[in-house]
Amino acid sequence: MDAVVRELSYAQAIQEAMAIAMDMDERVFLMGEDIGVYGGAFQVTGDLVERYGTDRVIDTPISELGGAGVAVGAAVTGMRPIFEFQFSDFAALAMEQIVNQAAKMRFMLGGEVSVPVVMRFPAGSGTGAAAQHSQSLEAWLGHVPGLKVIQPATPHDAKGMLLAAVADPDPVMIFEHKLLYKMKGHVPEGHYTVPIGKAEIRREGRDLTIVATSIMVQKALDAAAALEGEGIDIEVVDLRTIRPIDRQTVIDSVKKTSRLLCVYEAVKTLGIGAEVSALVAESEAFDYLDAPIVRLGGAETPIPYNPDLEKATVPQVPDIIAAARDLVKGVR
């Protein structure tokens, strides 16, 4: 009776979401560098240009600042653009339009406009692309009121959160880890949304809460599975949205487990781990803590080219296992 569970890759899930969004709403269109016949640097747009034409799948010049601004201008005048950055690192070229314009326009104009633009950022290390094509910059944008910033960790969420982002009246920044693009998972057919601003408990446990983002969710689950045999029972919270952050899910989980480990790929200091740690320390969950809060984040260095160095830059499963074990055994 049950249909075979349909699996798609993370990239296919995003592509399907964009197709559904364009089918449902003629205001939706795609812009970005080489997203047309090339199919996008990571083949996320794929053959969409053949199905929707060059008027709705627009190759831009290599002009990140101007392109982002065009998307913002189209969004405030009735369209629903989805703008693809080829690499999240190139956000640095467009920060003016993202931070000074898209994020603030509604506020500066006293609520007279909305800016329903979606921007997609292929992010993260692990591809040997070195320092300018491997960063995790989501916390930069997470610091800006007016933006919403999400990091789907599964194909299911990649589709559902993109569809939620397209329907959202405000600018939504989607950070997609490049190593997730090939990850396969169950993706329902048709239209559905996964809410922005709601974390998801991926694994329930009693001894330790790991709050993870993006690719670190799967790594945390792998670590949790490995520690099961040692009798350590780990809860994994997939944060999914870093602005607005789902404080309550984190607080409730820590109250249950009494220990917190934050795992994220971006540079450790001044990042999402600091925010999650602080929100717990400021909450009633503080009284429940049995151990110091621990952060596992990226090294204080640009991403290096050498593959061994590159791996050593960001938390890996053994690092998470070691940190989790130490926390639960009271070594720290």
Binding site: R27, F29, D55, T60, P61, S63, L65, G66, G67, A68, G69, V70, A71, V72, G73, A74, A75, V76, T77, G78, M79, P81, E96, Q97, N100, Q101, M105, R106, F107, M108, L109, G110, G111, E112, V113, S114, P145, G146, K148, P169, D170
Partner: protein
Amino acid sequence: MAGASKAVADSRANLPFVYRQYRPEQLRHVLHKMYLIRRFEEGAEECYMRGLIHGTMHLSIGQEASAMGICMPLAEDDQITSTHRGHGHCIAKGAEVSRMFAEFFGKTTGYCKGRGGSMHIADVAKGNLGANGIVAGGIPIAVGAALSSKMIKTGKVVVSFFGDGANNEGAFHEALNMAAIWKLPVIFVCENNGYGMSTSTARSTAVKNIAERAAAYSMPGVIVNGNIFSEVAEASFKAVERARAGEGPTLIESKTYRHRGHSKSDRNRYRTKEEIDDWMANRDPITLFETELRDFGFIDDQGIQAIRDAVAKEIADGIEFAKASPAPEIATLENYVYTEQA
């Protein structure tokens, strides 16, 4: 030429463009609006000096013909993006000075409910998508608005105002290029008042005329005397026709001058008093237009006085409206950061 008889039309055949194109009452209204901009700026400056307005502001005194000339051929639903020196553009596109003053006073009745102030003044209902605190910030946004116009087929034309300083920003070049390759209905208007803050265009810009930059993007580049209303309006009229016909963008360089400093902190150390006095005495755009109107018989001294009196009252009433309006409640601080969901 609606409303003008053939005989009247013939008698105007040798006059500059606007006198052939528009009815006398329309031209008298332009003079009214130019005075309104001038007196608004003076009123805002006085309120600032008296401590009624805080922050800073950038006055466009001396640039009134540019704002009015560019907006003359625009329809109400055509759109503009503006600059930090944007009060004149806002009035030219149809805003009410009372709500502008209210914004400067930080009141809830202001166009931005007191959240934007001078540098973000906007009037979305009249097609003004907003002044901008970032030099060249509005240029790509205007191109995006023009892309919407083309995709939704609204027929709207979008004007992006910016200053000479913006022509050395990357956003200017990226935006002009995209507007040209996609043949979008947008007009780029560089109001060259000679100085980006203190740095003259001669020191900052590799080309003699900013309009020459248009060649790099295969669009017409037009230079006009920005202090002569008819010249500006004629260039704008042609650019609007071209945009509406789907032939793409135009770059207009409107050469003008700001009588006041860059902002309230300016000590005018980068230009001479003689230079400022020369522009004020010999090339004031309102004087030039008013003299023309009188010489051509479109208005008499009595008519001019009536306009001045009406503007003075409008400004005084606007300031009173602003003073009497309520300030925002502190509890509303976080409003408008995100769209309120039902």
